[in-house]
Subunit: 315 residues, 2 copies
């Protein structure tokens, strides 16, 4: 309910507004994930969601986008989920007096730009909209009230940077780095442990909030097994960022102590790692888990220079 | 769901942020209404709200502040309502496994400053919070989902200025005035008709959204019977504003056409008028309706100058 100590610091929210550097204008890569996952979510709803069970206790279907940020991606995803549920509703030929109504909760950190989110809500939307401020590393909704959780590229954000990374006396002190890439095992383990704690809290909270028979679709960055992290897309991105920051330190524009004190609060698990965390937690059954290829970049990205710019701007 | 043609224009939202001219810092008069009404709301809940009925179908009690704006008033009011419901819950000695959870929806126009509202939510709140953007002159929530509606000094806002006030060929053309104060009957009637339409839409929407056995507490500006509007507090305030605007026109700082084109989108009914509107609508029973005295001004208002300033700043 109220903010707890484990709440994700508010500085981790995406840039607000709709200007040049806003998330709304720089999230086509995330948008690609929305488009790429539409079909799969539709299939999951068609195959696994039993609306007869859900509608036996409620005339309303409540959907949450966990970590929605701002911009068109969340509206596109929600629209697609609602259309899939409506198709399933028709396919199930339920003997119910009236069509269900939809209530959609857009969740993100309190510092998310909800004003811009609200002003860009589709005017012709067929759902009741609400914004829910707060960290997904904690409870956000009453018990047994949500039918469908959706999250796209949000779970990699840690609730906080592991404390030992800043402890000079710890073998996990992350000196001269901003992430766990190319770091000793102790640093990687500190990140992995923090991530595991966060996922445990996340799953416990969502399990309480979900109605029996509900569904959660989580799209999160994960690494293919056997490929070194530095060779993955996100790994390469963070390595580039780290190398730029180290250049700034070498040029004396920032101090070494500043480099040491900054650590990206993000962790990308392997698919197996996430599977183990969900199974260990025990609240949810995994119906399907798969790695999608990074896919094709946005069609406007016709040369390396514009692609590089888009990648740099994308968050 | 989506914005309809009847939606209140977004320019009617209160000033955002928490600066000198913000509503959050200039709403102590509205705050006085919150304080003055606390006891009465508590009594109404103790006497009229049957939690056994409400909790027979839901483990969650959903509360809405309709037209909440920004600032401390809405949080104080909600806190007081929750405490009253909890007292009633204990008094009823219900045989239910667990205490109900509370979900609070803060509603106001899309242009309301929800970012400031969310960042000022009490950190120790005992409820799940959500923001709902949209005009209360229309549906905001799924059918049968809300247990308690609350609104404080919001219902006097019209969904739009009556069109005939701007029609030079109409007897309701409101030339040389900004309101219906001191205006011919045709202008007053145009305002009253627009207000009646809005209240009808409001009541129909709330009736659909409310669960059986729910309660609505509406605090709204109303005039004492038999006292001319110009002698009421709000009447005097609008007359002062009109006189200032007419001075600006006489000094040539604004044009007469600008005066003619501006009309305050507010109407204050008499208590009898509101009673008739609610009865004609037929969706709600009136358990109690009374006029409270304007009450004592804020204790920091020790002289006429600071009181005048406070009144001018209060919206």
């Amino acid at each position: 309910m109220g903010d707890s100590a484990s709440t994700t610091p508010e500085l981790y929210a995406m840039n607000g507004g709709d200007g040049r550097f806003s998330y709304a204008k720089n999230s086509f890569l995330q948008g690609h994930n929305v488009t790429a996952s539409k079909g799969k979510i539709g299939e999951a709803i068609a195959e696994k969601l039993d609306l007869e069970i859900l509608l036996s206790t409620s005339k309303t279907i409540r959907i949450v986008d966990v970590g929605c940020s701002v911009g068109p991606n969340t509206f596109l995803a929600i629209q697609s989920i609602i259309e899939s549920i409506e198709r399933k509703y028709q396919a199930q030929e339920l003997n119910i007096n009236q069509k269900p109504e939809f209530q959609v909760f857009f969740n993100d950190l309190t510092s998310n730009d909800f004003n811009t989110l609200f002003s860009s809500l589709p005017p012709d939307r067929q759902y009741f909209a609400a914004g829910v401020p707060g960290s997904f590393h904690g409870r956000l909704f009453p018990e047994g009230s949500i039918h469908f959780f959706y999250s796209c590229i949000a779970l990699h954000i840690l609730s906080k940077v592991p404390e030992e990374l800043l402890d000079k006396s710890s073998p996990s002190w992350n000196r001269g780095r901003i992430h766990y890439i190319n770091a000793p095992d102790e640093v990687v383990n500190a990140y992995a442990t923090q991530y595991a704690k966060g996922i445990e809290i996340f799953l416990d909270a969502r399990a309480k909030e979900m109605v029996p028979g509900g569904m959660a679709v989580m799209i999160f960055p994960a690494n293919p097994t056997g490929i070194p992290y530095s060779q993955t897309f996100t790994g390469a991105m963070f390595e580039l960022l780290e190398s730029s920051i180290l250049d700034l330190a070498r040029e004396g524009k920032i101090s070494e102590a500043q480099v040491d004190s900054f650590n990206l609060p993000m962790y990308v698990p392997s698919l197996e790692e996430m599977m183990e965390l969900v199974q260990k937690n025990g609240c949810f059954d995994i119906e399907k888990m798969e790695l999608t290829s990074p896919g094709v970049l946005h069609e406007s990205m016709t040369n390396t220079s514009s692609m590089g710019k888009a990648i740099v701007m994308h968050e």
